[in-house]
């Protein structure tokens, strides 16, 4: 009987030891974070990105800019998100960026990230998501009467099932994409692409089918100012890049 008792005790201790394992601090696949040494060196008093905080609306640190503020490198967009705004942008809005190799190249990179997944590398509406039948009914650029203005307008606001891409791209990048999309449309329709402008020259007005209706003066003024700012951004970027290396 004594041996039975002993075995029981051993089994009990073994069970106890095994049950302790759940509280180990090692990082398991779904466990907690590892222990920290001097946590006050890890976590600052200031708010971190995406942190929760009671001073913020909805407890979210990530907030939109205050209504009416204009961030650096961003210009207000005056066309409305409506059928009229679309028609007006299609007729009047012009690409402020010169058609340079550099702009087209970056436009094609951005197009590859954001657009090609549905619209296809060639703009024929046969992207990977369409071919796998996850998203259907994406038109080819050749079948739609698009201008650079309407391309920009649709990227800014979205249209029907397509969402807005204003939060993922900057104004400059959207115009670069517009250049690329327009080039794709020309390829699909068999029209010759535009000739490149050398980066030093001033942008020439791009030949586009235009409506003569309604060209408001302040929109023109905005578009004249715009070409200055991408060049500034580019300069800043190259500086930070070389710094980084």
């Amino acid at each position: 009987m004594n041996t039975w008792y002993k075995t029981f005790i051993y089994a009990l201790t073994a069970a106890l030891l095994i049950s302790c394992r759940g509280e180990t601090k090692s990082v398991a696949a779904d466990g907690d974070r590892s222990v920290q040494y001097f946590p006050n060196m890890y976590e600052s008093a200031g708010y971190e990105t995406y942190q929760e905080g009671t001073v913020f609306e909805n407890n979210m640190e990530a907030q939109k800019p205050v209504e009416g503020t204009v961030s650096r490198g961003w210009m207000p967009y005056d066309y409305e998100n409506s059928n009229e705004g679309y028609a007006s942008a299609k007729a009047n809005l012009q690409n402020p960026l010169p058609y340079t190799e550099e702009n087209l190249e970056n436009g094609s990179v951005m197009y590859g990230i954001y657009c090609a997944i549905c619209h296809g590398k060639k703009g024929d509406g046969k992207g990977h998501l369409v071919e796998t039948e996850k998203i259907l009914g994406v038109p080819s650029y050749a079948d739609r009467p698009i201008t650079q203005g309407s391309i920009y307008h649709v990227m800014y606001y979205g249209i029907n099932s397509m969402g807005s891409y204003a939060s993922q791209t900057s104004e400059e990048e959207r115009w670069q994409i517009a250049h690329h999309v327009d080039a794709l449309r020309r390829d699909l329709q068999g029209v010759e692409r535009q000739a490149f402008v050398k980066s030093g020259e001033v942008a020439e007005p791009i030949a586009q089918p235009q409506d003569t209706t309604m060209v408001s003066s302040d929109k023109d003024a905005e578009m004249e100012e715009a070409p200055m700012q991408p060049q500034e951004i580019e300069e800043q970027e190259t500086e930070t890049q070389t710094d980084g290396q």
């Binding site: 990105t49 990230i113 998203i135 009914g137 029907n160 099932s161 930070t240 890049q241």
Partner: protein
């Protein structure tokens, strides 16, 4: 004696019976499984009936290419559900509407204006490229009734999927029962044999071995060599484990918390081949690789409210996740009413759990690595396109950073401004290609400031 023999053979018989019964049962279970699998095969073959006029197969192609971005047959999307549209409107009117709806609205057609106002004055694109026969084909396709079998197909398959584990459980249970029976059997046999031996006065081995021995711990203490070896072994082992424990302080490699919405990188980045930067767009130009705001999800999920049947089954069977419910969580957070296709404005933040978190004493800039350094996301984040659940792939320790800075060569092509300096530096280092470390990548102030 004869009685006993008979008794044992009875036990043997029971044992044999149990085995036979069990094997017969498992064979029966197997046939059950096959019928379960075989069952749904019959309703699957039901094809949608061909339309009255026009080829619905051709129509389906045209529909998917031109209409499906805004229309579904049975569900309201940007435009109305199209099943039965031929009964609602006259064919001639439909031709006109599809070819150029704006013109029809402008002409003041009451039906056209009614639809236009009902759907928030959104213009339907004009399709002048479609001929009347094309439209006939599309309309034939819209007349296909909702395939009822798909529902039973899914549930049937679900039953099949559920039946598998249950039959497994039954088999395992039967096996456990048999084992238990065997144990009991052995005990009984042992007992009877002992009693038998006792009755015949036979001394068994077990009883003779009761002489006094030195306890094992005393023997151990007396053997000094053994004590020394085990002491050294213990010290080494504890040093090994202590080192491991200390090195894991502040290292969260493998950390994979449960997120509020089960987002599968495997499906999005792997199967769907969506670029990392599509969602994490700020990695291109910001310190942070941002968590995408939910409008980015809705770019696609406005039209993808349900996953494909195969994906759904895979999620249920392999990961135990109902992907459709996860999409509904997204809709709840964004306040998207899928039936009415409008935002209710009733939103709610998603409390994602942060995985990669550098201590505040270290500075890391995504743009510098992604845009300037042109480093693939997978270099640090691992095979994200295969991760069903996101986890931290790299240790993110200082040694890990430094190692990469020492080993990674810098691509200095096309960097005109610093060309001369880079050339001189390279000559100083014996003409080899420069690494990040050569350009100051090991300076304390680069990351700690």
């Amino acid at each position: 004696m004869i009685n006993r023999k008979l008794h044992f053979s009875a036990w043997q018989f029971i044992l044999a019976f149990v085995f036979v019964a069990f094997s017969a049962f498992s064979a029966g279970a197997q046939t059950d499984v096959t019928t379960n699998d075989g069952e749904p095969a019959t309703p699957q073959e039901v094809e949608p009936s061909a339309g009255s006029a026009g080829d619905s197969a051709l129509g389906k192609q045209l529909f998917n290419a031109n209409c499906a971005s805004c229309h579904n047959l049975y569900k309201k999307m940007t435009g109305p559900a199209l099943f039965g549209v031929t009964k609602k409107y006259e064919r001639e009117w439909l031709y006109k509407w599809i070819k150029n709806s704006a013109e029809l609205i402008a002409s003041g057609d009451p039906q056209a204006v009614a639809i236009y106002t009902e759907y928030n004055q959104k213009n339907m694109n004009a399709f002048p490229q479609l001929s009347n026969t094309d439209i006939d084909n599309i309309l034939a396709y819209t007349d296909t009734p909702k395939p009822v079998p798909t529902d039973s197909e899914v549930t049937g398959a679900g039953d099949g999927g559920a039946a598998d584990p249950t039959t497994n459980n039954i088999i395992l249970g039967a096996l456990a029962l048999v084992l238990l029976l065997l144990v009991v059997l052995l005990l009984v046999v042992n007992k009877t044999l002992k009693r038998f031996a006792e009755a015949n006065g036979i001394q068994t081995e077990f009883e003779t071995e009761k002489e006094e021995r030195t306890p094992i711990w005393k023997a151990f203490v007396q053997n000094q060599f053994l004590v020394l070896v085990s002491a050294i072994f213990l010290l080494l082992a504890s040093a090994y484990f202590a080192y491991g424990a200390l090195m894991s302080v502040g290292v969260d490699q493998g950390y994979a918390p449960v997120q509020p919405i089960h987002y599968s990188h495997r499906i999005h980045a792997g199967e769907s081949q969506i670029d990392c930067k599509y969602c994490h767009s700020s990695a291109r130009e910001s310190k942070h690789s941002g968590i995408p705001s939910l409008n980015v999800c809705m770019n696609c999920h406005k039209s993808i409210s349900q996953v494909a049947d195969d994906t759904y089954k895979e999620g249920i069977n392999e990961y135990g996740i109902d992907y459709n419910k996860e999409i509904q969580k997204l809709y709840a957070a964004t306040g998207w009413d899928s039936a009415e296709q409008v935002y209710t404005g009733d939103t709610e933040p998603v409390r994602w759990v942060r995985i990669h978190n550098l201590p505040d004493l270290a500075q890391f800039n995504h743009a510098q690595h992604v845009t300037a350094g042109n480093i693939a996301c997978q270099t640090c984040h691992g095979p994200v396109e295969e991760m069903e659940i996101m986890y931290q792939y790299s240790p993110l320790t200082m040694g890990w950073c430094i190692n990469c800075h020492r080993e990674t060569n810098v691509d200095l092509q096309g960097n005109g401004y610093y060309e001369q300096i880079h050339k001189e530096l390279s000559e100083k280092r014996g003409g080899r290609q420069l690494t990040i470390a050569d350009l100051g990548g090991l300076e304390c102030g680069k990351c700690h400031y």
